[in-house]
C-alpha cells in the first residue's frame, strides 16, 4: 500500500484556473493533473499537453478494416467458391465498395475507442476515482503532488493568490 499526498487547489472559474496554471508552472511547480467538469479550451496549451495521436490509430485501424474487407470479399467470391451472379465478374470490385466502406468505419471507430479506453485507464470499476467530488459538477481542481521539499505554505499562498477558492490536502491510497 503506497499512498501519495496531493495538494488540491479548487477554482470556480475556468479563466482564473487557466491563469493560475500558467502562474503555478511559471513558479516552477509541477502540476500533477487538472480536473474539470467539461473540456476547457486552451488548457492543453497552458498545461503542455501534446496533441493526441489517436487519429493516427484510427487511420491505421481503418486501413486494416479496408484490407480485411477487400481480402474477405475477393477471396470468398473470387477464389474459394466462385459463382456467376448476374453475369458479373467473380471479383466485382464496385459491388464490394459498400461492405469495404462499412468495415473501414467499424474498425477505425472501434480501434480508436478501445485504444482510448486502454491508454486512459477507462474501465468499469466500483470505486469513485475523483479527488474532489465537485470536480464533476461545477469546480475545477488543480492537483499538485506533495513531494519532499515542497513548502506547503508557499504552495497554498501561490494557489490562493491566483484565485483558488480553497486549498485542500488529499491522500490517495493506491
Amino acid at each position: 500500500m503506497t499512498s501519495k499526498k496531493y495538494i488540491l487547489g479548487v477554482f470556480d472559474d475556468e479563466d482564473v484556473l487557466l491563469n493560475a496554471i500558467e502562474k503555478t508552472r511559471a513558479a516552477g511547480t509541477k502540476i500533477y493533473d487538472v480536473f474539470s467538469p467539461y473540456p476547457i479550451h486552451g488548457i492543453d496549451d497552458v498545461l503542455g499537453i501534446q496533441r493526441s495521436r489517436l487519429p493516427i490509430v484510427a487511420f491505421f485501424c481503418g486501413l486494416c478494416g479496408t484490407s480485411f474487407a477487400l481480402w474477405m470479399q475477393i477471396w470468398m467470391l473470387g477464389f474459394d467458391w466462385p459463382m456467376i451472379i448476374g453475369g458479373k465478374p467473380h471479383v466485382a470490385l464496385p459491388a464490394f465498395i459498400p461492405v469495404t466502406f462499412e468495415l473501414t468505419v467499424l474498425c477505425a471507430a472501434f480501434g480508436m475507442v478501445i485504444t482510448f479506453f486502454v491508454i486512459s485507464g477507462l474501465r468499469p470499476t466500483l470505486k469513485v476515482p475523483v479527488m474532489d467530488l465537485r470536480s464533476t459538477d461545477d469546480k475545477y481542481v488543480m492537483a499538485i503532488e506533495l513531494k519532499e521539499g515542497i513548502d506547503i505554505q508557499k504552495l497554498n499562498d501561490l494557489l490562493r493568490s491566483n484565485g483558488a477558492i480553497e486549498v485542500n490536502e488529499k491522500e490517495v491510497v493506491k
Binding site: P37, D44, P98, V99
Partner: protein, 473 residues
C-alpha cells in the same frame, strides 16, 4: 470574456450556473419516477405487449400472418424498416454533422437525439429479421463458411450491404453515445447517495475523473467519431435506397434514390426529434436548455430537407415522363391516380405542403404548430415509403397478377408494437440517463448563456488574464 451577441439568441436561458445545469439534469435521474412517467410507461408497456403478441403470431404461424401476397412481397415490414432507420438518422446528423459544422445549439438536444437513433435502429432491425420467417437462422446473413448450410453470402447484393451498414451504424452510434455519456455518468456517480446508484453509475462511468489529459483525448475521439459517423449515416440510407434502386422494378429503378432517401431520412428524423423534445422539455422542465431557438433551428432543417424531398418527388415524375418508358410512366400515373391515390396525396400534403408553413416565423416558433406539423411529417414519411414500396409492386408487368395489398391486424400490431418498444426504451433512458449532455452544455454556457456570471472576489482581484482571452472564443 462574457460575449453577448446582439443578433444571436442565447442557447441557455434563465441565467443558469454550472451547478444549476447539474441539478436540473440530474433531478429526474435521482428522483422517484413521477406519475406522468408511470402513466407513459404503462401505455408503452401495453404497446410492447402488442408487439410481443404480434411477433409470437408471426413466428409461430409464419409470415402468412401478414397481408403479403405473391405480387406484393414487401409491404408494411419494409416500410416500417425504412421509416425507423430514417428517423434514426437525425440523431447522427445532430451529434456528428452539426459537431463538424460547430453548431453549438446541438449540445442540449444531441443526447436525446442519439438515444432516439439507437432505439429507432433497434426497432428498424426487427422488421428484416422477422421477415426472414426463421429469425433463428439470422446468422446466415453473416459471411460464415459454407459448411454452415448456405454458401458464402452474396457481396453483390444490396440486402447484404444493408446487413453491414445497419450493424456498423448501430455499433458506431452506440459507442458515440456511450462516450458522450461517460462524463455525465461520472457527475451522477459523484452526487449519488444510494449504494446501488453509486455502484451502478461507477461501473457505467468507467473510472472517469475529468482529467485534462482525458478531456483532450475525449475531444479528439469525439471529433474523429463525428468525422466517421458523417459519411456513415449518408452511406446507410444510400444503401437502404439501393435495396430498391438496384432492382429493375419501375418506380424503384432510379438514380435519384440515394440523395432523396437521405434527405427524407433527415426530414423525418428531425420531425421525430421535435415530437420527443417538445414533450421531454415540458415533462422534465428543461425549457431553459431546449429553447424556442432550438425548435426554430430544427424547423429550418425540416423546411430545407422537406423542400429537397418535394423537389425529388417532382423530379421523379418528370423523369418518368421524360424516360419515354411506358412502364415507368404507368408506375407514376398509377401512384397519383390509381387505387392508392389517397396514400400518394397524403404523402404529398404531409411532406411537401406542411413543412412550407415554417417559412412563417410565427409558426416556426410556435410549439403547438411545430408539434402538429412534426406529427404530420412523421405520417407523411411513413406514407412515402408505403407509396414507393406498395404502389410500385401491386401492379407489375402482368395485369393478371395485379392485386391490392391490405394489412392484417398482425401487420398493424407489429408496427404499433415497435412504437411501444421504442417508447419503453426511451422512457427508461429518460429516467435513468441524463437526457441533456451536461458536460457539453457547461462547455458552451459561458459563451452563449447571455448573462454574466458572478465571479468570486479572488477573480475580480486578479481579473481574467488578457493573454488567455483568444483561447475561449
Amino acid at each position: 470574456m462574457q460575449h453577448v451577441s446582439p443578433i444571436r439568441e442565447p442557447l441557455v436561458t434563465g441565467g443558469k450556473t454550472y451547478a444549476d445545469i447539474t441539478e436540473d439534469v440530474c433531478r429526474q435521474v435521482e428522483a422517484k419516477p413521477n406519475v406522468r412517467w408511470m402513466i407513459a410507461m404503462g401505455v408503452s408497456l401495453v404497446f410492447l405487449g402488442i408487439f410481443l403478441y404480434s411477433v409470437y403470431r408471426t413466428l409461430w404461424f409464419g409470415i402468412g400472418e401478414w397481408g403479403l401476397n405473391k405480387t406484393v412481397g414487401w409491404a408494411w415490414d419494409i416500410t416500417n424498416f425504412v421509416w425507423w432507420v430514417g428517423i434514426g438518422h437525425a440523431g447522427t446528423l445532430i451529434s456528428a454533422i452539426l459537431l463538424l459544422f460547430r453548431q453549438k445549439w446541438r449540445t442540449s438536444i444531441n443526447r436525446a437525439a442519439e438515444a432516439m437513433t439507437i432505439f429507432a435502429v433497434i426497432c428498424a432491425a426487427m422488421f428484416p429479421v422477422l421477415h426472414m420467417g426463421r429469425p433463428w437462422l439470422a446468422y446466415w446473413v453473416l459471411p460464415l463458411p459454407n459448411t454452415f448450410g448456405s454458401l458464402w453470402v452474396n457481396f453483390n447484393s444490396p440486402l447484404l450491404w444493408d446487413v453491414f451498414a445497419i450493424s456498423t451504424y448501430f455499433s458506431v452510434s452506440l459507442v458515440f453515445w456511450y462516450i458522450g455519456l461517460i462524463p455525465d455518468f461520472a457527475t451522477i456517480r459523484d452526487r449519488a447517495t444510494g449504494p446501488i446508484a453509486r455502484r451502478a453509475y461507477a461501473l457505467l462511468s468507467m473510472n472517469w475523473t475529468g482529467s485534462a489529459k482525458h478531456w483532450s483525448r475525449y475531444e479528439t475521439v469525439s471529433l474523429i467519431l463525428a468525422g466517421l459517423a458523417t459519411p456513415l449515416v449518408l452511406s446507410v440510407h444510400t444503401i437502404v435506397s439501393m435495396d430498391f434502386a438496384t432492382s429493375v422494378i419501375p418506380g424503384w429503378h432510379t438514380t435519384i434514390f440515394p440523395p432523396y432517401f437521405v434527405a427524407g431520412a433527415i426530414f423525418s428524423g428531425f420531425a421525430m426529434v421535435l415530437t420527443l423534445m417538445i414533450i421531454t422539455r415540458k415533462v422534465f422542465k428543461l425549457e431553459d436548455y431546449i429553447t424556442l431557438e432550438h425548435v426554430e433551428s430544427m424547423n429550418k432543417v425540416i423546411t430545407l430537407t422537406g423542400s429537397i424531398v418535394g423537389v425529388a418527388y417532382i423530379t421523379e415524375f418528370f423523369i418518368a415522363w421524360y424516360s419515354g418508358v411506358e412502364y415507368e410512366q404507368y408506375a407514376f400515373i398509377n401512384r397519383a391516380t390509381g387505387p392508392y391515390w389517397w396514400a400518394y396525396w397524403s404523402m404529398m400534403t404531409c411532406n411537401v405542403i406542411t413543412p412550407q408553413l415554417f417559412w412563417f416565423r410565427g409558426i416556426r416558433r410556435s410549439l403547438t404548430a411545430t408539434f402538429i406539423i412534426s406529427i404530420f411529417v412523421n405520417i407523411g414519411m411513413w406514407f412515402e415509403r408505403f407509396v414507393i414500396i406498395v404502389t410500385s409492386l401491386h401492379r407489375d408487368f402482368l395485369p393478371s397478377s395485379w392485386v391490392m395489398f391490405s394489412p392484417t391486424a398482425i401487420d398493424v400490431g407489429v408496427y404499433v408494437g415497435t412504437m411501444g418498444l421504442f417508447f419503453t426504451l426511451f422512457l427508461l433512458f429518460a429516467k435513468f440517463f441524463p437526457v441533456v449532455n451536461m458536460a457539453e452544455v457547461k462547455s458552451i454556457l459561458k459563451s452563449s448563456s447571455g448573462i454574466s456570471h458572478t465571479t468570486h472576489p479572488g477573480a475580480s482581484m486578479h481579473g481574467t488574464a488578457p493573454n488567455n482571452s483568444h483561447k475561449h472564443d
